[in-house]
């Protein structure tokens, strides 16, 4: 019988095909091997964040070349760009929770709007005079309740998330307008003024950290992240598990350090026309903290594992004893709370809230950002980092076209095309992955 050698034989071709799907860091033993494995994957369409990083490079090159006085890459504009992108980044990170499930949430634009209005209204010294932290807490709580309601309708009544959140978007638009109309602000409560609570909300976007403190903070962050990376990789190496080569770990840490130094150096350039304005804006650590917490939650906890499992195969998750309804509902809650933070940042960016807030457009940009960053619309594939990178792309296009004094209609058109490209990459890589595995059966 051919039984004895059977297990070895059939898999030769399968294993060969499978190399394409294996992340390079789990098989490579040296840096050279890692680069080769990475290139193989790239050719097979498994590109990870590469397209979006390339996209960012193209955007910065093109806009730097054609912007007046090459102002695009100036320190002042880069900080400005990050501030403009921050709202998209945060909303996109919220949307990643939902996209991972294979669902969609169209309401987060106006969820953010409601959150922003609630916070701004509550701190107004002319009316409610709440402390800033109380206002933020209540605003996020309101957003959480919105998430609970929508999530419950979707998971318990099995309604389509598309329709529930579309309805939610309309309802919340109305709720936001009602909330805006409260108080003596004729529909546009503002964050201008010297009241400390108002100042704090305003500073979420516009406050800066002292340059020296910025440096110290950056060094501390790099040391902490670097030692965690080094410690976990070296423990894996010692216990004989597949681990990336030490040189790769060092390279990663060095890359993080370089990015940190560049960011702080740029932010510490005086970017004011008159006087001094330097230092890392608050919004950068705010976005990074959200990113870090949500990354740990999605990559390192049971909850995150179940979110991916539900996105990949809900039936498998159900049989494994995962309570699908609870996990799904929690995703909607976390998404709405994240959107609420985005709404706070937006209110701070505008220095108040008004009925100019276009939540319908913002949500589309947020979903576009997540997808451009590399999160799949089909569920199960995506990372929080994708939201941040995609948000930078959207912010970059917006900012670059604004510098060129190009009308807003072109901004819509360009962003639309970028989204089309991103969705096409998603669908094509998915198709090549499935046809590949079908051929291997």
């Amino acid at each position: 019988m051919a039984r004895a050698e059977a297990p070895e034989d059939p898999t030769a071709s399968a294993a060969q095909a499978a190399t394409l799907d294996v992340p390079p860091e789990i098989v490579a033993q040296s840096l050279g091997e890692w680069v080769r494995a990475w290139l193989t994957r790239l050719r097979a369409g498994q590109s990870g964040v590469l397209p979006v990083v390339l996209g960012l490079l193209i955007i910065s090159t093109v806009f730097t070349a054609i912007s007046p006085n090459n102002v695009f890459l100036s320190a002042g504009n880069l900080v400005n760009l990050f501030q403009q992108s921050a709202v998209f980044m945060v909303l996109a990170m919220g949307e990643v929770f939902i996209l991972l499930l294979g669902e969609i949430d169209l309401s987060i634009g106006y969820t953010a709007g409601v959150g922003g209005v609630v916070a701004v209204q509550l701190v107004e010294p002319a009316t409610t005079k709440w402390p800033w932290w109380g206002a933020i807490l209540v605003a996020l709580l309101v957003c959480a309740i919105i998430g609970v309601l929508q999530g419950t309708l979707i998971t318990r009544l099995r309604l389509s998330s598309l329709i529930v959140t579309l309805a939610g978007s309309l309802i919340l638009n109305g709720v936001m307008l009602i909330a805006l109309g409260l108080g003596p602000f004729s529909g546009s409560p503002s964050l201008q003024g010297t009241n400390p609570n108002i100042r704090t909300l305003y500073k979420l976007m516009w406050g800066t950290i002292d340059p020296v403190v910025s440096w110290i903070g950056m060094v501390l962050v790099v040391i902490v992240i670097g030692s965690i990376l080094w410690w976990s990789d070296s423990r894996r190496r010692q216990s004989g598990l597949v681990a990336p080569p030490a040189s790769l770990t060092v390279l990663k840490i060095a890359l993080i350090a370089v990015v940190g130094i560049v960011v702080v150096a740029i932010c510490n350039v005086n970017r004011a026309a008159i006087g001094t304005l330097a230092g890392v804006p608050w919004v950068i650590p705010i976005v990074l903290v959200i990113l870090a917490v949500w990354m740990v939650l999605t990559q390192r906890t049971r909850f995150g594992r179940y979110v991916y499992a539900i996105g990949g195969n809900p039936e498998a998750a159900r049989r494994a004893g995962v309570n699908l309804a609870i996990i799904r509902t929690w995703c909607f809650v976390l998404c709405s709370v994240t959107a609420g933070i985005g709404g706070l940042l937006y209110a701070s960016y505008l220095g108040g809230m008004s009925n100019n807030f276009n939540g319908g457009q913002i949500v589309l940009y947020a979903i576009a950002a997540a997808v451009i960053g590399g999160t799949s619309l089909f569920g199960g594939r995506g990372k929080m980092l994708h939201g941040v990178l995609g948000g930078l792309v959207i912010g970059g296009i917006y900012n670059g076209l604004y510098l060129l004094a190009i009308d807003v209609q072109w901004q819509f058109i360009v962003t639309g095309f970028v989204l089309l490209v991103a969705v096409a990459i998603d669908a094509l890589s998915r198709r090549s992955a499935t046809s590949g595995s079908a051929a291997r059966v």
Binding site: A2, R3, A6, P7, E8, D9, P10, T11, A14, A15, A17, A18, T19, L20, D21, V22, P23, I26, V27, R235, R236, S239, L241, V242, V296, R300, T301, R302, R305, Y308, A309, G311, G312, N313, E315, A316, A317, R319, A320, G321, V322, G380, R381, A433, T434, G436, S437, R440, V441
Partner: protein, 267 residues
């Protein structure tokens, strides 16, 4: 290969007079089945014979209407999948229930992740998963950190089986484990089934494929229209008699004192 060990000991799981109906439709009539440890019992039968219903009753997905389960000789109740899992019964369904986007380790531990300080203990899980795969000699996967989407059909089946035996399970039920596989991959899975038996597990394998059944099974139980018509040592059957039992519920050929309701064989 096949030892005709006289199963003197109590079978690991014994079904006595099990009945199940869905409304007016009677799916199982008075089924008696023995699943001894260290043996592969093949459950065969035509479509609609009740194989899947019986499997789901043992797995706790359906609850039986009449009859009893005896686990290691003691009467037990199986009301839910949790009950059967607690006894040490694991089922590998035909669709395998693997999440394509997760890797092998993540799939094997899905729902029972190990934690350290509240976070996933990936190193520990990877080591344990690697150990289980090595014990079962599933050595063809390139890395246990590769996504399941990149595996061949036989490898996926192996991962699903390894996932099932990882939890100190004592009885593994395999639903058509070779249905979608080519010749070589089928051999790979059948070898795996033998290794489960050699480790002392009770294995129940549902199969349509008599080649596979005769190659790997120690015992054969045949179902026909909701009844278990015969169960005996595999050597007591030949292809002809097995097909006759499957298609007509009886056999004209001489099979040791087995008739209609096969109260024969082990015990």
């Amino acid at each position: 290969m096949i030892e005709d060990s006289p199963s003197t000991a109590e079978p690991l799981l014994k079904l006595h007079g099990v009945e199940k109906h869905f409304g007016p439709v009677q799916a199982l009539y008075n089924v008696d089945l023995d699943l001894p440890a260290g043996q592969v019992t093949a459950l065969v039968g035509d479509n609609g014979a009740g194989k899947s219903v019986l499997t789901k009753c043992i797995a706790g997905i359906y609850q039986i209407d009449h009859g009893q389960f005896f686990w290691e000789g003691r009467p037990v109740q199986i009301h839910s999948p949790r009950d059967s899992a607690r006894l040490g019964i694991e089922t590998v369904y035909q669709d395998l229930a693997l999440a394509d986007n997760l890797d092998i380790v993540q799939n094997m531990f899905l729902g029972r992740e190990r934690l350290r300080n509240g976070l996933l203990n990936e190193d520990d899980m990877e080591r344990a998963a690697g150990q289980t795969l090595a014990n079962l000699r599933v050595t063809t996967v390139r890395s246990i950190r590769q996504p399941v989407a990149s595996l061949s059909g036989g490898q996926r089946q192996s991962v699903a089986v390894a996932k099932a035996v990882m939890w100190n399970s004592k009885l593994v039920m395999l639903d058509e484990p070779t249905a979608a596989l080519g010749v070589v991959q089928t051999q790979m899975v059948l070898d795996l089934v033998r290794r489960l038996r050699d480790r002392g597990l009770a294995v129940m394998m549902i199969s349509h494929n008599l080649n596979d059944v005769f190659e790997v099974a120690d015992r054969i139980a045949v179902m026909y229209l909701g009844r278990l018509v015969v169960q005996d040592r595999a050597s007591a059957f030949d292809r002809q008699s097995a097909v006759e039992y499957m298609t007509t519920g009886k056999s004209g050929r001489t099979v040791p004192n087995a008739q209609d309701k096969g109260q024969h064989g082990a015990s």
